[in-house]
């Protein structure tokens, strides 16, 4: 693969990765958010496969495929199951629509999008020393990974639905994995396996807790978690 074509494809994958994070901030329906997150997983896998193919490291290609399966297949499936539980007991003309839609985030959508723009600029500024240490096409795209980390944190903090917080946490994790791939072509295999396993278990735990939250509180609105305070 020629360097020019490799750089172009890498840039396209990174662009799609960042765009998916932005669209998560934009749409309201949780089913659409989960679908966009799956697309982001695919672009992350494409990124890893491109890097592995360029450096002729087939273990990296394998890791990329595994990551794609996990983050574009298994994790969205778990979240769809959680969504199905939330809407399972709705009446015929029920109002369960509020459960599957992010109705009123802490910061409204327009301001969130402008904040995402600021966070991208911040990520670019913060990542300059990282890029200057070793300038390659891959490390030049490091701001994308850091921007998705910041956007994930932002989603985690400002969204009201429990599942939106889970999506924010997963965006954070996707961004960190992308940073790892772009900076050093991935961390050692044992660590990568451990991280993937931990993320899978964390999402399982959060899915079970979402169900319990619905049973105990009747809603998955985070703002209703106000029992414990000083």
């Amino acid at each position: 693969m020629s360097t020019g074509l490799y750089t172009q494809l890498l840039d396209l994958a990174c662009g799609a990765f960042l765009l998916a994070a932005v669209i998560v901030l934009w749409v309201r329906e949780l089913t659409a958010i989960v679908r966009v997150f799956a697309l982001q997983g695919i672009s992350l896998a494409a990124l890893a496969v491109l890097l592995g193919g360029h450096e002729h490291r087939w273990d990296l290609v394998g890791v990329g495929v595994g990551i794609g399966l996990l983050r574009a297949g298994v994790l969205p499936h778990l979240m769809r199951r959680a969504l199905a539980v939330l809407t399972a007991d709705r009446q015929r003309y029920g109002t369960a629509a509020t459960e599957t839609r992010e109705t009123q985030p802490l910061i409204n959508v327009a301001a969130s999008l402008l904040t995402a723009a600021l966070l991208t600029l911040l990520a670019y500024a913060v990542a300059r020393p990282l890029t200057e240490l070793h300038p390659t096409p891959a490390t030049r795209a490091l701001p994308v990974g850091l921007a998705v980390v910041l956007i994930g944190f932002f989603v985690l903090v400002t969204r009201r639905r429990a599942l939106s917080q889970v999506v924010g946490f997963l965006l954070l994790d996707n961004g960190i994995t992308a940073t790892a791939f772009l900076a050093t072509s991935g961390v050692p295999l044992i660590v990568e396996l451990g991280v993937s396993f931990d993320v899978l278990l964390a999402v399982l735990v959060l899915q079970i807790l979402t169900t319990r939250m619905r049973e105990a509180f009747g809603t998955t609105d985070i703002d209703d978690l106000r029992e414990l305070h000083d």
Binding site: G15, V22, A111, L114, A116, L121, Y124, R140, P143
Partner: protein, 319 residues
């Protein structure tokens, strides 16, 4: 010799935009009508409407001042100057050196501004309401247009629009980069907002809840209304032409030759016909977005433009 071709190109751009705008609007309305199962009024209907309006008595409401009276002429004038500058047919004209991105965007914004001032000048509730809504939209759209064309200017190294288009003709790979794609998306949404099409504004409604552009021009009648309509149609043609020049630049004459100019003319007409048809077909399926959701849409397109600019800084290797 070359300057003759150049001047012909400039004149040709003005004539095509001026005369072709009503045709384009008529074509778009016809496509929409056919898709909706209606017979449609025909492609030449906007010409017939203009002729009817021109024959009417010029009249203006009591209490309006120079802002109201000069707005239609100013609108058409700014659009004509912008049409001369933007490289629709050729990138090598005598005025190419002055065709800076910021000048063109400022001219388009000036057109928006004079119409809003006219709306305010009428003193009616609809005029003021339309003007304020238009300014809300413009506040987010102008930066978006600036940023998305700026994103394309970074690889070219200059903000001169003919130079950007020339560079894109030579290096098509630039347009397939993330910066190019994001800039396309952002500019498309911005063009829809600036020209008052669905999903931002419905050009054929007169309901108080929903009209933006129509509210500002509600008090115009006769030849003034004909000029205003022509100005709006010309702006649509110009912006669609800008979109096609930036993102589908092949066919534009880059050298001063009659043959290239002729080819450019034919291709320009074809591109705009296709673009207009696609836009009309899309409008059949889209719904207008509620007014308080419009800032969300525009903020999103602004973000895409900003991402295009930052992406062209760090994803293309430029620093």
């Amino acid at each position: 010799m070359s300057t003759a071709v150049g001047y012909t190109a400039v004149a040709g751009q003005i004539v095509v935009v001026g005369a072709g705008a009503p045709l384009l609007t008529g074509w778009m309305r016809q496509v929409r009508a056919r898709l909706e199962g209606r017979a449609g009024a025909g492609v030449l209907q906007p010409w017939r409407d203009a002729r009817k309006l021109l024959r009417k008595e010029p009249i203006s409401p009591v209490g309006t001042g120079p802002a109201f009276r000069t707005a239609p002429a100013l609108l058409v004038a700014t659009t004509v100057v912008a049409a001369a500058l933007v490289p629709l047919l050729s990138t090598d004209t005598p005025v190419s050196g002055h065709a800076d991105l910021i000048v063109v965007v400022a001219l388009i914004a000036l057109g928006t501004l004079v119409l809003a001032l006219a709306g305010l000048d009428t003193g009616t509730a609809f005029g003021g309401m339309g003007a304020s809504r238009e300014m809300t939209v413009a506040a987010l759209v102008e930066p978006t247009i600036l940023l998305s064309v700026f994103a394309l200017s970074i690889p070219a190294g200059t903000t001169n629009i003919p130079a950007i288009v020339h560079g894109a003709v030579d290096e098509p790979a630039r347009l397939a980069s993330p910066a190019g794609l994001l800039a396309t998306a952002a500019l498309a949404v911005a063009v829809l907002a600036e020209t008052g099409r669905i999903p931002v504004d419905n050009p054929s409604t007169h309901l108080e809840l929903t009209m933006i552009h129509e509210a500002m021009v509600l008090e115009y009648a006769g030849p003034d209304l004909a000029l205003v309509e022509l100005g709006a149609q010309m702006r649509l043609t110009l912006l669609l032409g800008l979109l096609s020049s930036l993102f589908v630049p092949w066919g534009i004459a880059t050298s001063p030759s009659w043959a290239a100019l002729a080819v450019a003319l034919v291709l320009f007409a074809a591109k705009l016909t296709l673009l207009g048809a696609v836009l009309a077909a899309a409008e059949v399926f889209w719904a207008k977005v509620r007014l308080f959701r419009v800032p969300e849409l525009l903020a999103g397109s602004f973000l895409l433009a900003l991402l295009a600019v930052t992406a062209s800084y760090f994803l293309s290797g430029a620093s």
